[in-house]
């Protein structure tokens, strides 16, 4: 069954323009606040361990997603990360072409559950899984408590 009338002249069909917008401010949370202050003030990457399940979470959280217990033990993540996967992007988030291609990677540390997606300071042709890289932090006065306080990862 369908409508009993249908417009045949497209200029008679109207569209109505508008937006569905708002501004947002997201807090980092109880665990996130501690992580970002550690990054901003001490230049450290912190993780949190579930003593019951043996998983060390990065980014750190308040709770273990497996046993739903609280995470009380915090540790620093040191040493190089390993690139698990890479991509080279040629367009930005709006679909416009970038002046220079950007290299992005999934980064993991041994014994750590989780990791980061972040910029890789490597030429596109040389970017591949298996590379060992370290975080390059912005100078202290430029760090604000944001994931971009890490500028990139480099070999």
């Amino acid at each position: 069954m369908t409508f009993l009338e249908r417009t045949t002249r497209p200029e008679n069909l109207r569209s109505w323009r508008g937006d569905v917008e708002a501004d947002y401010l997201y807090t980092s949370g109880v665990a996130g606040e501690r992580f970002f202050l550690g990054l901003r003030d001490a230049g450290k990457i912190l993780a949190a361990k579930c003593d019951a399940c043996g998983l060390t979470y990065l980014p750190p959280r308040m709770y273990c997603e497996v046993c739903m217990g609280p995470l009380k033990t915090w540790t620093e993540v040191t040493g190089p990360a390993t690139v698990e996967g890479v991509t080279v992007t040629h367009v930005d988030e709006h679909g416009d072409r970038l002046a220079e291609p950007q290299v992005w990677a999934i980064l993991r540390w041994p014994g750590i559950h989780g990791g980061f997606v972040h910029r890789l300071a490597v030429e596109p042709a040389k970017a591949k899984p298996g590379l060992k890289v370290r975080p390059v932090l912005k100078p202290r006065k430029e760090r604000v408590g944001n994931i971009t306080d890490i500028r990139e990862f480099a070999p």
Partner: protein, 172 residues
């Protein structure tokens, strides 16, 4: 359990801490839309531009549906025909607003409410503004008439009606 719990979880933040102290990320999604008005609303808007109000009829429940729609939601069948309704009506309910859409205060209050339109089924209403009224004169049950923008200023929008004003003696 209420009594056994010693501390209830939650770390409260003051406005100052929320905006100035804790780490946070700001974001504004860019979500722009072009909604298709559809069959019924397209005709409704076109008729508004001509200074007229149009409705649809449902032969089964015999209602005259305003604003118009291509299906009757009670009988769950397509509606049957177009029909014009008047631009006079009755105030079903109203409010006098001292806040704008972002909840900021405004000094000149806005009179807004629901008008049930003459010629449509009882209580078939439209939300719109009221003018030429005061907090003392406006009331539920007041008879009102649409005040239209001059033809050259109409765009095919509910704002082609400026507001609804009290009916004068001898009108409608």
């Amino acid at each position: 359990m209420s009594e056994k719990v010693k501390t209830w979880p939650g770390v409260e933040l003051s406005a100052k801490e929320f905006y100035g102290k804790v780490t946070s990320v700001k974001f504004r999604p860019e979500a722009k839309f072009s909604w298709s008005a559809g069959e019924a609303m397209s005709r409704f808007l076109m008729e508004l531009k001509e200074g007229r109000l149009i409705a649809r009829t449902c032969r089964k429940c015999k209602r005259i549906l305003f604003p118009p729609r291509m299906f009757c939601e009670e009988c769950f069948r397509p509606t049957d025909a177009w029909t014009y309704v008047k631009d006079t009506g009755t105030i079903e309910t109203y409010s006098i607003s001292y806040i704008d859409l972002d909840a900021k205060r405004i000094t000149d209050p806005v009179y807004v409410g629901v008008v049930s339109v003459d010629g449509a089924s009882p209580k078939m209403g439209l939300m719109h503004f009221f003018g030429g009224v005061t907090p003392e004169t406006i009331r539920i049950g007041m008879r009102v008439k649409a005040v239209w923008k001059p033809p050259a200023q109409r765009e095919g929008s509910v704002l082609d009606i400026v507001h609804w004003r009290p009916l004068k003696e001898g009108e409608g």
